[in-house]
């Protein structure tokens, strides 16, 4: 199988900064969603979710 040709691309400092900011924003959004869904679950199921099954 032939290897794909290698593409060399150097990012400028501006591109790098924007890329990092975008990655950070996506990471924060995903983290926030995870916390939000966790809290929603607790609110909907109630504190009983922490009680051990009889």
């Amino acid at each position: 199988m032939n290897a794909l040709p290698r593409i060399d691309r150097t990012l400028t400092p501006g591109q790098m900064r924007n890329l990092k900011l975008r990655n950070l924003a996506i990471g924060l959004a995903v983290g926030f969603l995870a916390v939000l869904f966790y809290v929603i679950t607790i609110v909907k199921v109630g504190p009983g979710v922490f009680q051990p099954m009889p």
Partner: protein
């Protein structure tokens, strides 16, 4: 940062050669100013709904509705990039200016739409999630893709999408569409034509260049001024309706009567001032005032309901 610039193939303006879009540009795709209005009107819908809502569920619902509105805005910018570039008001938006490739705006909008509907279904109920999905569909497919370039009634019918957030908010709490939420829907629905047509009268050349059949360039300025007056005559009493049906208190009543009278005065001025340097100025005054009108009415509704003034003092 690179200082090298290249010719943007769409806009014909110089943009940085580097990939210029950061989080701020993506956020601008969501039309933040429209989102702020959606947040306020959806919050009013949540607060007028019968029954109690847990603050976390209320917050998550409001967030989902506003993100849904943002998704619709991003998809609108993706589809409309070809005409946005032709209009002075919109040519610097992120897609037509070349800051964000159209395909990325599409992925961004679709992702946000799915997340918003999913979050509302998880936080509130399927009824409100279905309504939110319908709202996004209506705005993107019915209004943006179909009606906007087809008929001067585009913003009249398309206005239904902008009027739905309070209905979605109410459904998130109650699980159904209540009569009270339909009053709020009606206010925003009737508010939309005078709001947009006041601007369209000033920007009619822009719309004409882009081939968008807005009322002023499709039916003429005189007909537009008459229709603005007619819709304002409908809106002024409709704005008082939440108080008349017992949904709002005295503060709201006083404001809606005063603002309604001011709206009619401005609409009459737009109708009468047809030529000269003052004509555009009066139109822009009405355009600005309609924004204030909606913000104040829904703001007072939220204030009265949110702070318990309505229940506590029967205001």
């Amino acid at each position: 940062m690179s200082l090298v610039t290249q010719e943007n193939p769409i806009a014909g303006v110089a943009v940085p050669a580097e990939y210029a879009a950061g989080p701020r540009e993506f956020f601008s795709l969501m039309k933040p100013r429209v989102m702020s209005l959606v947040i306020l009107t959806a919050l009013a819908g949540i607060l007028i709904a019968p029954g109690h809502v847990h603050p976390v569920i209320g917050f998550a619902s409001l967030l989902a509705i506003s993100i849904g509105a943002g998704a619709a805005g991003a998809l609108n910018m993706w589809w409309d990039a070809d005409i946005d570039v032709l209009m002075a008001r919109t040519r610097l938006r992120a897609v037509p200016s070349g800051m964000i490739p159209a395909g990325e705006a599409l992925y961004f909008g679709v992702t946000l739409a799915f997340l918003a509907v999913l979050t509302l279904a998880a936080a509130a109920n399927f009824q409100s999630a279905a309504l939110l999905a319908f709202t996004i569909f209506f705005y993107v497919v019915i209004y943006t893709m179909w009606l906007k370039r087809l008929t001067p009634q585009n913003i009249v019918i398309g206005g239904a999408a902008g009027a739905l957030p309070p209905v979605v908010g109410c459904a998130a709490v109650s699980g159904s569409v209540t009569l009270d939420s339909l009053w709020l829907f009606a206010i925003i629905f009737v508010w939309t034509p005078p709001h947009f047509w006041a601007l369209a009268l000033v920007k009619s050349r822009d719309y004409e260049r882009a081939g968008v059949p807005m009322m002023p360039n499709a039916k003429g300025a005189a007909r537009t001024r008459l229709e603005i007056l007619i819709y304002s005559l409908l809106l002024a009493p409709l704005g008082v309706a939440p108080w008349l049906v017992g949904m709002a208190g005295a503060l709201y009543a006083a404001a809606s009567i005063v603002l309604g009278a001011m709206l009619l005065w401005l609409a009459a001025r737009v109708y009468l001032t047809r030529d000269g340097a003052n004509a555009n100025k009066v139109c822009m005054q009405l355009f600005g005032f309609t924004i204030l009108y909606l913000f104040v009415l829904f703001g007072l509704l939220v204030f009265e309901r949110g702070f318990g003034l309505f229940a506590r003092w029967g205001l």
